[in-house]
Symmetry: C2
Subunit: 235 residues, 2 copies
Amino acid sequence: MATFFGIGVGPGDSELMTVKAVHTIEHLDILYTPKAHKSGTSVAEQIAAPYFPESLMIKRRHFPMTNDWEEKRKSWQVITDEIVADVKAGKNVGFVTLGDPSVYSTYSYLLDLIDDQVAVETIAGISSFSQIAAEVSIPLTLDDELLEIIPATADEQQIAKAIDVNDNIVIMKISTNLPKIYQLLKKRNLLTKALVISNASMEKQKTFRLSEINPEDKLPYFSTVLVKKSADGSV
Amino acid sequence: MATFFGIGVGPGDSELMTVKAVHTIEHLDILYTPKAHKSGTSVAEQIAAPYFPESLMIKRRHFPMTNDWEEKRKSWQVITDEIVADVKAGKNVGFVTLGDPSVYSTYSYLLDLIDDQVAVETIAGISSFSQIAAEVSIPLTLDDELLEIIPATADEQQIAKAIDVNDNIVIMKISTNLPKIYQLLKKRNLLTKALVISNASMEKQKTFRLSEINPEDKLPYFSTVLVKKSADGSV
């Protein structure tokens, strides 16, 4: 049966894709790839490219990065209609997404719009926070510890509370929200326990502590923070 | 340089291993695999087995499942000493672990004991909670929502608080702690919003809601719960 596959390509290194993701791509007819800017390239497409079969038709589509939800929904609806039509025409159709398709991914909105119109299969991917921990060989969470994943875009009080009650905190979408997060962690004396990874597993990967930068610094778009209260600052 | 590799094999399906994990295993000299029971098999070894090169030496080691920390530490120390000796003898040595090596994994204790004695590289894997979301094609977390990962072994009050303040909650290590978690969720009218996956991506996989079982039921060892307060109960 023709199916729509949502495929997580992991944090950046093509080798961090799963065997299942690779096999799925090898048997696709059409692959939709997301671009944040009309003229730019698709990072997810670049990660998956080593596994593209010659016969694969690529459909690059623009996903606007805006706070205008009406504009975003309209774009998603147009793309969804196109995907549904392709699957109904008997094609196996894929969509690649960075990291894990179930964690803060535009894929979830497409899923919602596709609803039950066609068969869907989601293929999990390595998330950026999983990769941070692997890069520095430290546990994300251990024993009876809790782990909280927070988007830096959330309400400031909610973030503050989450930082206060958890041992291990991952903060995503940090780049445009650095000043807010920096001050919250500084107030709690946690800057030295906050590890940042930018462009995880990509060529331009950088790992540093928040205490090593200024709150006005510009972080790369793909940056994630791991705060471990038990960290001794030696990593 | 001879290295010790901690390799996440994902939740169960061999295809959910990353290409990097497969390539790493293909170039190992020795692979340590963990067994929970002296006479049993190693689930992580079975998952990775399709990729074993002929020349690979397998060292199956028993990791006692006990609350006696002294006994556990002694076992880990013996295994660590053996691993370090193998790497110092110039061998590339691996250790396979279920799911993601950074999430509630015995691998973290080995890492701690190995310290800086030999070079270490950790290879991320798909965690069980990532696989739950993929299996049912629902987002773990979206937009400004937070996601909390809780071990069912944690303090009851801490778990209760985490359930109260979060939109999305993953509860791990549920099998021997079902009555406690069941009552906590029942009190909050969340049983119908609690999705359980047992043996994710394995042959015996089962997906059901907590409302469909009794608190006295026996869950398989590999069971994970995803509570989504926004769920409409239709999945």
